[in-house]
């Protein structure tokens, strides 16, 4: 027996040793949960990191190579996303640019933050991302080419809050829409001084008109169809329903043009069809090709930012969020537009790089536009902001089953361009925006991983004033509820409400509870004053 053998110890010592070992094991066992808790502690804060928010107007993820599109539309974003988190189920809170975008900037749903249409004011007590970061000592600037953040006074006031510098290009006469912001001033601003910065880059390039100023890589130069030489902008595209390109009519054209801030054009443009035209597969391909060219053009532009970040060594202390405020329907429901809350208009790309979090992961879980701000604040360690969203900051550092969101909620306030000025009374439409929006003539939807329920509350009003009805001469005739199973019917073509009424009821109840929680009380239907029943 070796001298140091345990058995050679005196019995008392042996017992003492055993006790010590036991106590050590016990201590380890007791402390271990705390230790592993330390390992799984909520994420490391990105202390005073810069923030770049890129808003890519009208980007459909399924038209980006990053999300699996056959065409090479986003090689630069692909490369940038290699060490980033890429989200496969990110949904905008609405389908119109400023409404959706404000949900991201405030972490609150449209009716909770106030921006429910193009003219509604952002609530005074709601803070935007720019305001919060500005208060934290950040220098803040917005550069962009999305006119929706500028062309109404309300839009300008709402979105410029908190920005030292706000250079989102003003709207100019259509179709000369500036497609990409001038890079030089942005480059200069990035390196202006050492203070942490917040940069918001609003790229409008993929929006109507498709492929504006873009090099034509996907569009065939040999296209000879009726759409050649016509800007694929809203006046044209909103005249398409199904396979028909409807002729332009003289009456009511004023209202439409007047509302969008375009120079009123009482005359039908020269390029507008004078009779209805049946569009072919080639014509639709052409539209998609131009759209893809727009997407690629935006991607090319972003490379300027990506290389600047490398060059100035900003990647190591900058959080980059790339997202889109809505997608686009390219004929899935007969329209080329973002006018409804379908999958194609609400499912959008989201890419996040946080230098202190290991990325290069695809996240399949549901994320809503209102989750971005609380997550960003968690990244930065900024506390105390109440939002409607759920931060997924901790989930990014844990296992994927720790994402808590089970459904996303989407609001559709009626696209004002669709509201027809009745002949001789363009002011009527303006009345509609404020009065009826406030009285909740809007649709809402709840979408889980598998189901989507849409409550068409606006159907009555749209029956009367829908642009599409005017165009086609056919009333909208929406059903009150639409239920889609997105696994079997991702195109949302078959309303199966009658087959699954119990699922619809559960979803609708959740939707109504959400509405009550996020809609301001004064906008609830009448009879919202508490009148307690008297006692016995």
């Amino acid at each position: 027996m070796a001298k140091n053998d345990f058995r050679s110890l005196a019995p008392a010592r042996r017992v003492l040793t055993q006790i010590i070992v036991l106590l050590s094991v016990l201590a380890a066992v007791l402390l271990l949960p705390n230790f592993s808790g330390y390992l799984q502690r909520p994420i490391q804060v990105c202390q005073k990191c810069n923030v770049i928010l890129i808003s890519l107007d009208s980007f459909r993820p399924d038209h980006t190579s990053l999300y699996g599109y056959a065409r090479d539309t986003t090689p630069n974003i692909d490369r940038f996303a290699k060490s980033a988190f890429v989200f496969d189920s990110y949904f905008a809170a609405s389908y119109l640019t400023p409404i959706s975008e404000m949900s991201v900037h405030t972490g609150k749903y449209p009716f909770a933050n106030g921006v429910i249409n193009f003219q509604a004011p952002l609530k005074k007590d709601v803070k935007t991302m720019a305001q919060i970061l500005h208060e934290q000592g950040y220098r803040t600037a917005a550069f962009g080419s999305s006119p929706e953040f500028r062309y109404y006074e309300a839009l300008l006031k709402n979105f410029s809050r908190g920005f030292d510098r706000y250079e989102v290009a003003p709207m100019v006469r259509a179709p000369e829409r500036p497609s990409l912001p001038d890079w030089k001033p942005i480059d200069q601003w990035l390196t202006k001084d050492q203070k942490p910065f917040f940069l918001w880059l609003a790229i409008g390039n993929a929006h109507w008109p498709y492929g504006q100023d873009a090099p034509l890589r996907f569009t065939s130069p040999s296209y000879r169809g009726p759409l050649r030489n016509i800007p694929l902008a809203s006046p044209l595209l909103t005249h398409i329903d199904g396979t028909t390109l409807y002729k332009f009519r003289t009456e009511n054209v004023t209202g439409w043009y007047g509302m969008t801030g375009y120079t009123p054009q009482p005359h039908i443009p020269a390029w507008a069809p004078k009779t209805n035209i049946t569009l072919t597969a080639d014509d639709f391909s052409y539209i998609k090709d131009r759209y893809d060219d727009g997407v690629r053009n935006a991607d090319q532009y972003l490379q300027k930012l990506f290389s600047a970040l490398s060059r100035y060594q900003l990647l190591q202390n900058t959080i980059v969020i790339i997202q889109s405020e809505h997608g686009e329907e390219l004929g899935e429901h007969g329209h080329i537009a973002h006018d409804d809350i379908w999958e194609a208009t609400t499912r959008v790309p989201l890419i996040i790089k946080n230098p202190v979090l290991a990325g290069d992961r695809r996240i399949p879980d549901l994320i809503s536009g209102v989750d971005i701000l609380p997550t960003l604040l968690d990244f930065l360690g900024i506390k105390g902001m109440a939002t409607d969203g759920e931060s997924f900051a901790v989930s990014l550092s844990g296992k994927s089953d720790s994402f808590s969101r089970r459904e996303v909620f989407i609001t559709r306030t009626p696209l004002f361009e669709r509201l027809l000025a009745t002949p001789g009374n363009p002011h009527r439409v303006r009345e509609f925006i404020t009065k009826d929006d406030a009285e909740h003539f809007y649709d809402t939807a709840i979408r889980t991983a598998e189901w989507k329920l849409i409550h068409r509350k606006a159907r009555g009003m749209l029956d009367k004033f829908s642009w599409w009805s005017y165009l086609t001469g056919q009333a909208e005739r929406r059903k009150e509820y639409e239920l889609y199973n997105l696994r079997n019917d991702p195109g949302e073509h078959e309303n199966i409400l009658q087959k699954f009424p119990e699922i619809a009821k559960v979803l609708l109840l959740k939707l109504e509870v959400w509405e009550l929680r996020t809609a301001p009380k004064e906008n609830l239907p009448p009879q919202n004053t508490k009148e307690i029943q008297e006692y016995f």
């Binding site: 808590s404 009821k505 559960v506 109840l509 239907p525 009879q527 508490k530 009148e531 029943q533």
Partner: protein
């Protein structure tokens, strides 16, 4: 030689006797032995008594000698949950074995606006729903209800099926009910009967003699309260208005002692009632079921009274069943709902209520729990639309969780009742998986069982139970 055979024979007899004894002993506790065909049935409605203040269920003070004796002879449930937290919906759920949203008698008024007040009535709101009383009457039982009016007033529909229903005294107590009971029992000697015996003796609005001193009162109390019903009403309304009231520990001790004193007194009156039954020789063929419709909050969540929340001090109630000839004396801890009482009674009596009542019943008979200790309890659902002040729905699971949803605000609460029976620690932010699980179960219940009408805006003015009342 002969003696050997005699011994064997005697042993055989002994064996047979022992087997027979054991066999009949076993039979006594099988469900068949719980049958009581042709027996009378008495529902004792011990209004406002919370289970936590019942002595044999663990309360240190000796508040309930009669209940304890009854439990000793029968079966007492320690996790019996009412489907509502106040009287109007609570007892109606028992009598119909349906959830409040289903029988729709959820408030005193079905419509209550500045311009219109329409009182609730079971027949008008739910013409297809029947009460157990009507079933009993159809089966040849005499039916009598002796109550304290208010939430169980006949006009609301509680008299449905009762040949005699007394409710002339507002917030009347057991003494008053007993007077009526005596004369009624005199009239129907020898006839099988179904009775509802009810009193508000421990309710906040019960008329108590002025200068009442609770036997449990603290020796010295310097606070302002005297224990009057006016004080109770004031504290109740203040709690509703402000969300909480502010009392000192001494005040709370005073009020809880006062409650216990009332319980003791009521228990004694109940004892007199049972004595009356015994005197008339009714106990050996009368099934007695005692339960409360809800409890009473005395500052457990910083408010007074009942109806406005779904915490245990309001929904965990005593439930005692005494079946003649059945040796009980057991406390059953599996969770049940008071919706389960009527199905149990029908099983015990061997009565077939036929359709549509069979399909109407949403409770599950708790008879098998009386003998089978291994059988699990079940999840229970609870609701309130108390005076339009709030609309809450909850699930209390068999394994000790409670998830509460407040419809008008969307607020959610989650409590783990085993470590936190006082429901002070809201786990909604941390126990996300559990919250998801219970939320799903509750929403399914709302949609499938309660048929909560969808498409109705859920504002506190519009009761989510009445379709068409909330025009879009």
């Amino acid at each position: 030689m002969k003696s050997k055979y005699v011994i064997i024979f005697l042993l055989f007899i002994l064996l047979a006797a022992v087997s027979g004894f054991l066999y009949f002993q076993k039979r006594k506790n099988t469900p068949a032995a719980l049958a009581c065909r042709g027996c009378n049935v008495i529902f004792i409605g011990f209004d406002s008594l919370q289970a936590a203040h019942v002595h044999h269920l663990g309360y240190p003070r000796e508040t309930t000698p009669t209940l304890d004796r009854l439990a000793g002879e029968g079966f007492s449930f320690s996790q019996a949950i009412s489907p509502a937290s106040w009287t109007v919906p609570g007892f109606m759920s028992v009598f119909t074995s349906t959830f409040p949203s289903v029988h729709k008698v959820v408030n005193r008024w079905a419509v209550y606006t500045k311009t219109q007040k329409i009182p609730s009535n079971l027949k008008k709101l739910s013409p297809n729903i029947k009460t157990i009383t009507e079933i009993m009457k159809d089966h040849g039982y005499r039916t009598g209800g002796f109550t304290g009016d208010a939430g169980v007033s006949g006009a609301i529909g509680y008299n449905q099926g009762f040949e005699v229903y007394t409710d002339e005294k507002l917030f009347g107590g057991m003494d008053n009910s007993l007077n009526h009971t005596r004369s009624w029992l005199d009239q129907h000697k020898g006839e099988k009967f179904f009775m509802f015996f009810h009193g508000y003796d421990v309710h906040g609005q019960f008329d108590i003699a002025s200068g009442y001193q609770s036997p449990f009162a603290p020796q010295v109390y310097h606070g302002p309260y005297k224990g009057t019903k006016a004080e109770q009403a004031k504290l109740r309304e203040e709690g509703l208005k402000n969300g909480a009231i502010s009392l000192t520990a001494a005040d709370v001790a005073f009020w809880r002692a006062w409650y216990d004193g009332k319980i003791r007194d009521a228990d004694a009156r109940l004892g007199a009632f049972i004595e009356e039954l015994s005197k008339r020789g009714l106990l050996d063929h009368t099934v007695i079921v005692l339960f409360a419709d809800h409890g009473t909050e005395f500052y457990e969540h910083k408010r007074f009274d009942h109806g406005y929340t779904l915490y245990d001090e309001l929904v965990r109630v005593p439930l005692i069943i005494r079946i003649p000839g059945v040796r009980g004396g057991r406390i059953i801890s599996q969770q049940v709902s008071t919706l389960d009482v009527v199905p149990a009674i029908l099983e015990i009596l061997g009565l077939n209520p036929g359709e549509p009542f069979k399909s109407q019943m949403q409770g599950q008979s708790l008879v098998s729990l009386l003998t089978d200790t291994k059988r699990p309890g079940h999840d229970v659902f609870i609701e309130t639309d108390y005076r339009n002040y709030t609309h809450k729905r909850a699930i209390r699971t068999d394994d000790g969780w409670k998830f509460i949803l407040t419809l008008e605000s969307g607020q959610e609460e989650l409590y783990s009742l085993k470590p936190d029976p006082q429901e002070q620690n809201n786990l909604i932010g941390t126990e996300r998986k559990k919250a998801d699980e219970f939320r799903e179960k509750l929403f399914r219940h709302l949609a499938q069982t309660l048929h909560t009408p969808v498409g109705q805006p859920l504002s506190s003015q519009c009761l989510p139970v009445y379709p068409g009342q909330c025009p879009l």
